[in-house]
């Protein structure tokens, strides 16, 4: 079970806006692209993991880690990093075990992003 006191935040919109010099429209553009693209990346990641293509899993997890960082989503970013390292170590079992967690983090993040967007309107 995850310790709620030590797990990284789901979404830090203040940091995102700070990185984009306060540009709300720019932030929403990035967030919309992220929400649209990430389910496809999760699907590709799961397919490659099922096929045991760990080099590709490593690259896709790395890319997802970057995308999560780009929208200041530390929890998803940290989970993608664990999968990247597991793939790099050849640990298929850990990769497959972590994938549902990754999907779960994406869903909670998507909810947090939608809430943030509604509050800004």
């Amino acid at each position: 079970m995850r310790d709620p006191d030590t797990s990284p935040a789901i979404f830090v919109p203040t940091q995102l806006l700070s990185r984009l010099m306060g540009d709300q429209a720019f932030a929403e553009l990035l967030l919309d692209a992220f929400l649209e693209d990430t389910p496809k990346q999760l699907q590709r990641l799961a397919e490659q993991a099922r096929q045991g293509q760990l080099m590709e899993v490593k690259r896709l997890a790395h890319s997802l880690k970057g995308a999560a960082g780009n929208v200041n989503a530390p929890r998803l970013q940290a989970c993608a990093q664990v999968i990247e390292h597991a793939a790099d170590s050849g640990n298929t079992v850990e990769v497959c075990a972590k994938l549902p967690e990754l999907t779960g983090h994406f869903h909670e993040l998507a909810h947090a992003i939608e809430t943030f967007k509604r509050q800004r309107r």
Partner: protein, 130 residues
């Protein structure tokens, strides 16, 4: 400024493109092979890129290998520093080995993701591109 953005992740690409399109034409490549081909075609057309933002962990050909090939292409066509493209590596990899390899392969700057707009603009000013 003519810019090539080499990035396989959509949000990272969009971030760079949205910032850099205020300063000129931006083209995108989604893997290392595409990047080298785009640079080759730009040189042959007589309008080489002035800035290349290059990710490292890319499909097909890594950013490190793409950079080596890009510098070799420039040399083949008689394009040497300071007239060659300014290359900014843009990567989530922040270890000394990757940074060392990138500068060894003649990148001009190295930015760690996630990119902050102000840091990118500062780097463009340092490189006298804006």
């Amino acid at each position: 400024m003519r810019t090539l953005i080499v990035e396989d992740d959509l949000t990272s690409r969009l971030l760079l493109q949205t910032i850099l399109q205020d300063y000129g034409t931006t083209h995108v490549a989604v893997d290392g092979l595409e990047a080298v081909e785009a640079v080759r075609l730009a040189i042959l057309s007589g309008e080489p890129y002035e800035l290349i933002c290059l990710d490292i962990m890319l499909p097909e050909l890594s950013g490190h290998d793409a950079l080596k090939q890009i510098r070799a292409l420039e040399e083949t066509h008689g394009i040497f520093s300071p007239a060659n493209a300014k290359v900014i590596m843009v990567s989530a990899l922040n270890d000394l080995k990757n940074i060392h390899v990138a500068f060894h392969n003649l990148c001009d700057a190295y930015l760690t993701k996630p990119i902050a707009k102000i840091h990118l603009l500062e780097e463009l000013k340092n490189l006298k591109l804006i």
